[in-house]
């Protein structure tokens, strides 16, 4: 049975590419199970058999660690970057004027309570002192995946999402700007308990592979910062 890795949806594509290239060097090709971090956490808590859990944040892995379901503490795989998408050109405009303006009617954001990108967006808005004027325009997605879907449907005028989305088809749409923040959003992973010896071995090999230049290049290509 191939190794099964639980991956937060927003990291699905880069991980797929890394795993593919990993499989070219090794015999085993791990299987990715992609869902939102919260769903994966609930499944792990209820007996799902995964070798590795890669979350879009550090909170879920941390919870699992505290529950002693993991083999060691969370480690950071990559840092995500927050990006602002807008229907209208951003280059020459002051975002602080544009966002509260009449042109922008709806702004999509991931649920700040669940999604780290949402939380980060709120933090950024507060830092810019925009939050209080802008919040009535907000519509919420379950995660950045949903926010991206809203961008694609053309249902919103602006959106806070992951910079990695620029690498996909919606990168061609509208105008993008990566927002500066300290360090970015940590995407952490944990190795889970109850693995066979062979599974543990492959997992360790994969963890090591994440640190190789190939993997780092892939992560960066997709808009993440490798640690």
């Amino acid at each position: 049975q191939p190794l099964r890795i639980a991956v937060a949806a927003s990291l699905g594509l880069p991980l797929q590419e890394i795993v593919d290239s990993f499989a070219r060097e090794r015999v085993e090709k791990p299987t990715l199970v992609v869902a939102s971090s919260g769903v994966l956490t609930a499944q792990i808590t209820n007996g799902a058999h995964f070798a590795l859990f890669i979350s879009a944040d550090t909170l879920y892995p941390h919870t699992l660690w505290q529950q002693q379901r993991t083999d060691g503490p969370p480690q950071v795989l990559a840092y995500g970057q927050l990006a602002l998408w807008c229907r209208y050109p951003l280059e020459n405009q002051d975002i602080n004027v544009l966002l509260p303006g009449n042109q922008i009617k709806k702004i999509a954001i991931a649920q700040p309570q669940l999604a780290p990108f949402g939380k980060e967006a709120v933090r950024w808005l507060r830092a810019q002192r925009l939050y209080d004027t802008v919040w009535p325009k907000m519509v919420y997605g379950e995660n950045v995946g949903q926010v991206n879907r809203l961008i694609q449907a053309g249902a919103v005028d602006a959106a806070f999402t992951a910079a990695s989305a620029r690498a996909s088809s919606i990168g061609q749409k509208g105008y993008w700007q990566t927002l500066p923040q300290e360090g970015g959003i940590a995407h952490s992973m944990v190795v889970l308990k109850g693995l066979t010896a062979a599974e543990r071995q492959t997992t360790q090999a994969l963890l090591a592979y994440f640190r190789t230049p190939t993997a780092r290049t892939i992560l960066e290509k997709w808009g993440y910062l490798a640690p």
Binding site: K106, R149, L150, A153, G154
Partner: protein, 224 residues
């Protein structure tokens, strides 16, 4: 986010409005499909159940594209009436109506097939139009199925999540209904709050369903 009554109230309002709207839209559709025999009826019936085969979020996405002010219908509504359906309560109602359409229509339509045509014929010889016959004779004869259609619409709308999330945007007090609130709690591993929402939904719906079926049973007993 902790427990609040607002999403529950919104869910109830949405379910009620959707059910009423579906009665208003669904019954005329049943009328058309029932009297339009043959190929038209078959295609109509198949089309009505079609939205069901799409995962709700996907259906929601397509509805979003349709209603988005960037595209055809949405822009037209925006330009002419200034209506924005996306991320608004009326938009939710539209989405729920489309999604629950088969639950309302199919049971009634199939029950009508079991009604002997002789009652239609009597009504016609009594000078009644098709419409009168439908409203005064056929529908009352399949009342149980109308009730079941309404009940399933109501319950399904209370529990609807994917479509609403997509086209509603989860705006607190406007489109964040109980199903979204409860899902968020689960995702946040806040199982206590989730349980509380779920319990309220279940209890409340159980009472509503019990009431409807008791009433329904009493009426039926009187008929037979």
């Amino acid at each position: 986010m902790t427990f609040s009554w607002e999403p529950l109230w919104l869910s109830f309002k949405l379910a009620l409005v959707t059910t009423l709207v579906l009665l208003l839209i669904g019954l005329p559709l049943v009328y058309l499909l029932h009297f339009r025999r043959g190929r038209g009826q078959v295609i109509g019936q198949a089309l009505i159940s079609l939205p069901l085969v799409l995962p709700p979020t996907v259906l929601g996405y397509y509805l979003l594209v349709l209603m988005s002010p960037e595209n055809g219908l949405g822009r037209w509504l925006d330009d002419w009436f200034g209506w924005r359906l996306v991320f608004s309560f009326p938009g939710l109602v539209i989405g729920s109506v489309i999604y629950s359409l088969p639950f309302m229509i199919n049971p009634i339509l199939s029950a009508l097939e079991g009604v002997s045509t002789v009652y239609e014929e009597v009504a016609y010889t009594l000078g009644k139009s098709r419409l009168t016959t439908f409203v005064r004779v056929l529908l009352p004869m399949v009342r149980a199925s109308v009730v079941v259609g309404a009940v399933m619409t109501f319950a399904h709308t209370i529990g609807e999540f994917g479509v609403i999330l997509m086209i509603g945007g989860s705006i607190p007090g406007e489109t964040r209904v109980a199903s979204i609130a409860i899902y968020n709690e689960v995702e946040m591993l806040q199982y206590d709050a989730a349980d509380r929402y779920a319990l309220v939904l279940l209890l409340f719906s159980f009472v509503v369903l019990l009431g409807v079926y008791t009433y329904q049973n009493r009426r039926t007993a009187r008929v037979i």
